[in-house]
Structure formats: structure tokens, C-alpha cells
Subunit: 363 residues, 2 copies
């Protein structure tokens, strides 16, 4: 793995969790409540002996769940009385959310008790709170949400950003997304020299909006210093094709593309189920194909690619789907663990610092 | 079917094709050459006794193909010596393309010998030539390309536009897209009162870019007069969900969404094939599931949803995929036939005229 910076482990790990890689978890967010979140933590804990948790939420609800899952020696509970609801307005949460489990989970990262936090809660509120509590990294003007995208690449996934932190991005933001996305691909997917592409409606250099043409120039210039390969413009169809590791776009386009792909996959899944139910022969076929189909659905299961990562802040936040079940929560925690273990937050900060301000003055 | 205007049949049908619904076909465009295009015409001709063709291209190549397919009495051939290549620059074709089959095919619509033309050629050149030869409809500032999208709706498809005619669209353009898309859904999909949605990154009214908020207001106001149901903002995941018939967006976002969906479907198709090849049991399953899988692939086969339609010009152009085989060409021609038969070009023109200029002065 390429070294982005020296590992700076969090400085204030609770003594109960000494020696562990500590993940801060908002235990109350999400549609399914704390039992599902704690179950997800337990799944991850079984697989990774090095992981430890700071759980945030109502202590009287969390204590029995932690005891039931045998997590008592891997967990510290921080009592937080309030919960951010899925329909809460971000502006209201920013003003009055001080006692929520989400606020508390972010503050454990702010206080360097953990370097990564996980929440299944309201995305808008989580982004807004993360911005005010963690602050943007110096040199970053718009943080981004990065997601993993199933692809034909040998690593199995591509990174796409921004998928919805902001609806705008100018050429400087897009360059920052390239740097942050490349760092994420190095630390999250273990790709030494990620191939970075800029999403457009054609691959010819003269195509697209003015900010895309400007970003094309900036990203090409920064590639050598920032240790990624710039492959130029890519189109929507190239995202899963395996020839690009990091797809850079504004948060409007990225969000539409992500949700369109999820909708398409879900339509095909349903049509496939219908096709298999249609005749007796096809029902028998479905039985015979069971393990093959399971392998396929494992590959494309959104629960296993669970976790949008907020990049560009002083600390890393993993946003799990609100409807995630224990498997989904566990996937988000696994991602958080991997990023925390790699010292990702500090590596990313160092990377962004080393390449700011924008390199208009480069030779 | 709702009446958009009186049917104005083309005024200058060649006498050999009297009584037919005439489609103008660029026989030389496309990756597979004229034999494939003529084969596609023959497939359509077998299914629709009312269809007639004006074929444009090199007469010495087309005549034997037409004879071989038994199409001589359903066809008029217009000799055109040149072919627009797939990598030709639109600006060059506009200046020097007078002798191409594409130019000639569009001019048959311009001369009202046909109301709809079909080409498998270069999209950029086809759009540029269509703009200069047919001119924009009065009141339309940006023409759009509309595509059909497999969906769970009872009609099986939704219409999305713009998917790539222009990379920009302001609120007035988006309103025009709503009117044109609704007219297309009425005439192409037989939906009396289409449900129209505006693509955004969330469904709350305060979300999204300023032009989207403005377009939301305009589209809501125009709904009653223009005989569609406005369902407000929709997200990427809603496109195939079956609760919207017409999805309105700018050509940049629409193009990315379309290609992302195609890429996703293609990835899943490949993974599915791999899954079925994996074990002996799954190979047997694949055999048993054959008809079911065929039913599924028929439903999602891009060849059967072949045809981006250029809207907003004096006449209608159907753009078939460049790589279309005979089945794909036949699908594009079927769509052209349906639109020509419905008197779509004139209905659309009347619809746009009746609702221009923008209704800022509405009560």
C-alpha cells in the first residue's frame, strides 16, 4: 500500500479499548433501531478481534443488547438521550441536536477517541453535523460522499464521488474529489495507483460543460504528483466496466447515476424472480441454480456495498443505508475498520494538504 | 387516444407508395451496412402491410437487397452517393454532407414525402443535420432526444428526455420537454394522460438547482391545460418504478443516467451468465430456465427498445443504435411507423404552439 502519511492513531482511545481499532457507532440511527445496529457490531467483532466500539445511544437500551451479544468487553457506551429522526431537517438538528446519538458519535471522532464513525441515520443531518463538528480539511471547499460501485475490475469495485454531499462542483472541487477519491481507493480498496476518470457525456476532450473541460486539465496536471493515473473522460456505461477505479462527478449527477443504477438492478432482480416463478420447469431451475444465484446476489447485494464515506473533513464518517439490516451494518463497520486501521483520515488530510492550493502555478 | 391536432398526412407521398404510411430510411448509416437495414425494413414490412419506405443510399447496392427481400413494391430508392461515417464531425457534415444518405433521408421529411425518418448513423451529425434541414418548431429553443425506458408501469415503458441533444436546459426548456414528452407518451405509448416527473436528487420541493425549482412551478401550472398529470420531483430510482410515464431532465444528466443504466444491466447480464456457467447443476438449471430467461431478456433487450426520438423539429427523426441488427432496425422502424400513423409530428407541433410562449402570465 502506498504511504500517504505516517499513521497517526487516535490520541484519546478510552482505556477499556486500549490496543483496539476503535469505531464510533451511532447506535440509534436507522430504520430498524439499536438491536440491528448492535447485531451488526457483533457480526464484525466476531470477524475482527482487533475491533472495539464506542456505542452512542440510550444506555438502558444498549446495555442489555450489548450483554446479549457478548460485546461488553469490546464496547464503551456513551449515553445520548435523543435520536435524529429520518425526516428531521438538517438545520434543526444543527441547532438543537446536541443530545442526540448522532452528535455524540461524531464528537468521538472530533475528540480523537476514534478516527471513523458509522451512522445509519438521516444523510442530510449527518452531513450537516459532520461539517459543523469536524470542520472541513484545510484546502477543501466542498466535502464529498464517496460510494463503492460493483465493477468488472480485479478489485471488484470502483469508487464514485460525489454522490450527493453537494449539488454543485466547480473544477477545483472536482480536482479535490480526484485526490480524495484516489486516496480512498488506495486505503479502502488497496489499489496502489488508482485509475481516475471524469464523468462526462462523451470521451472526446472538446465535449461537455466548461467546468469539466477545466477540471480535465487540472486532473491531468495533478496526476503525477498525486500518484494516480488520469484516464480522461468516462461515460455512464464505463462505471462498472472495470477500466476505471475512481469516477469523479458533481453530487447532482453522481446521486442520479447511483439511484438510477440501484433502480435498474432492482427492476432486473424482480423480473428475474418473476421469470423463475413462471413455469414448473423454471421453478425447478431456480432450485438447481440456487447457489449460483446466491453467488450473483452476493456480488450485487447492496447490503454488502453498504457505506457512503464522507470525505474532506477532519475525520471520516461512514453513512450506512437507513434500512440496513445486521449484515448491512456489519459491512459498513468493516469498511470503517479498514479505513481506521489504514490511518485513512490522516493520510487523506496529508494528501490534500500536499496538493493545495490548486496547482495553477505548476510547470 | 387524446387528439393533439388533426391528422395532417404528408402532402407529397411518392405515387408508388400511395395509401402507405411512408417512412424515410437512411439505408447506409450504422455499423453493419445496408444489408442489415434492408433486412430490418423487410421484418417490419411483413408485420405491417400499411408500411412503405423511401430508402436512401447507393442505388446499385440497395436495388439487389430490396429485390432479394421482396420489397420492390413497398420501396422507393433515392440515390445518395456519400455516407456519413460514425466518427465524422457534425460541423463538417453540415457543410459538406449534401450528397449523403443521411441528408437525403432527412430531406424526405423536409419535403413532406414522409413525416418520420430513421437512421442508424452518427448521433451528433444526425442531430446537427436535422436542426439545419428541418428547423426547430416555433417556440422550442432546444430540441431533445427522448428514449424509452423499461419500467414496471402497465405500459411497460417510461419516456425520458433529454438524453443527449444538449448538455444544458433552463426552466423554459424543461417545460418544453414536459410538453413534448407527454405528447410522445400519448402517441408512442398510448397513454391518455401521462404522469410527468422532474428528475432531481430528492423529492422535497426545496431541493435541487434553481432552474429545477423554477421548472417545478412552470410544469405544475401547465399540467391542466396540457393534459398531463404533474407528479413533481422524482429520483433516479423512480425511473423504472412504474409511477411515472415521462421523466424530464437536462441532456447531460439524462445521458449519464441512460448510459449508467445500460452499463448496470449489461454487468448484471454478464454476471448472470457466469453464475449459470459455474457448476454442472447450474448449467442444467440454465437449460430448464431457458424460456423464462428468454422472456426476461426479451423484456430488457436493448434491441427491442431501440430508437431515440428527436423532438422539437418540423418532423420526427428516430435514431437507431449504430450497432443495431435487423431486429433492432425493425424495432426503430416500428416506432417510426407508429408515430407516423398517429400523425405525431403535427400533433406535437400543434401542442407546442398551443402552449407557447411560456405561461408566466397564467392565473
Amino acid at each position: 500500500m502506498t504511504t500517504d502519511a505516517q499513521d497517526n492513531l487516535p490520541s484519546a482511545i478510552p482505556s477499556e479499548l486500549a490496543g483496539k481499532v476503535v469505531i464510533s457507532v451511532d447506535a440509534m440511527g436507522g430504520d430498524r433501531g439499536p438491536a440491528t445496529v448492535v447485531a451488526g457490531c457483533a457480526m464484525s467483532a466476531r470477524k475482527n478481534p482487533d475491533i472495539g466500539f464506542i456505542l452512542h445511544g440510550r444506555v438502558e437500551e444498549l446495555e442489555p443488547l450489548v450483554a446479549k451479544r457478548g460485546l461488553a468487553d469490546r464496547c464503551v457506551i456513551r449515553d445520548a438521550r435523543e435520536v435524529v429522526t429520518m425526516d428531521a431537517k438538517p438545520s434543526v438538528v444543527m441547532r438543537r441536536g446536541k443530545d442526540t446519538s448522532m452528535w455524540s458519535a461524531i464528537d468521538s471522532v472530533r475528540d480523537r477517541q476514534a478516527t471513523v464513525a458509522v451512522s445509519c441515520g438521516n444523510t442530510g443531518a449527518l452531513m450537516a453535523l459532520s461539517m459543523v463538528r469536524l470542520r472541513k480539511l484545510p484546502g477543501v471547499s466542498r466535502p464529498a460522499i464517496a460510494c463503492l460501485w460493483p465493477s468488472r475490475s480485479p478489485h471488484g469495485y470502483a469508487v464514485m464521488l460525489d454522490v450527493g454531499a453537494d449539488i454543485r462542483a466547480d473544477e477545483g472541487d472536482l480536482l479535490q474529489y480526484a485526490l480524495m477519491g484516489a486516496s480512498y481507493a488506495r486505503n479502502g480498496l488497496d489499489i496502489a495507483r488508482p485509475r481516475v476518470g471524469l464523468l462526462n457525456v462523451g470521451t472526446e476532450e472538446h465535449k461537455g460543460r466548461p467546468e469539466l473541460k477545466a477540471a480535465h486539465g487540472l486532473m491531468a496536471e495533478a496526476a503525477a504528483v498525486s500518484d494516480y493515473e488520469f484516464i480522461g473522460f468516462v461515460e455512464g456505461g464505463d462505471i462498472p466496466r472495470g477500466e476505471v477505479d475512481v469516477i469523479v462527478t458533481d453530487g447532482f449527477t453522481g446521486n442520479v447515476a447511483l439511484k438510477t443504477a440501484e433502480g435498474t438492478a432492482s427492476l432486473i432482480r424482480d423480473l428475474l424472480k418473476e421469470a423463475f416463478r413462471h413455469t414448473i420447469l423454471s421453478r425447478i431451475a431456480a432450485l438447481l441454480a440456487f447457489t449460483s444465484m446466491r453467488r450473483l446476489s452476493k456480488r450485487t447485494d447492496p447490503r454488502r456495498v453498504n457505506g457512503g464515506v464522507f470525505l474532506g473533513l477532519n475525520g471520516t464518517i461512514v453513512k450506512s443505508h437507513g434500512s440496513a439490516d445486521a449484515t448491512g451494518v456489519s459491512a459498513a463497520i468493516k469498511l470503517a475498520f479498514q479505513l481506521a486501521q489504514a490511518g485513512f483520515s490522516d493520510r487523506l488530510a496529508a494528501r490534500v494538504a500536499s496538493t493545495s492550493p490548486l496547482r495553477q502555478d505548476m510547470p
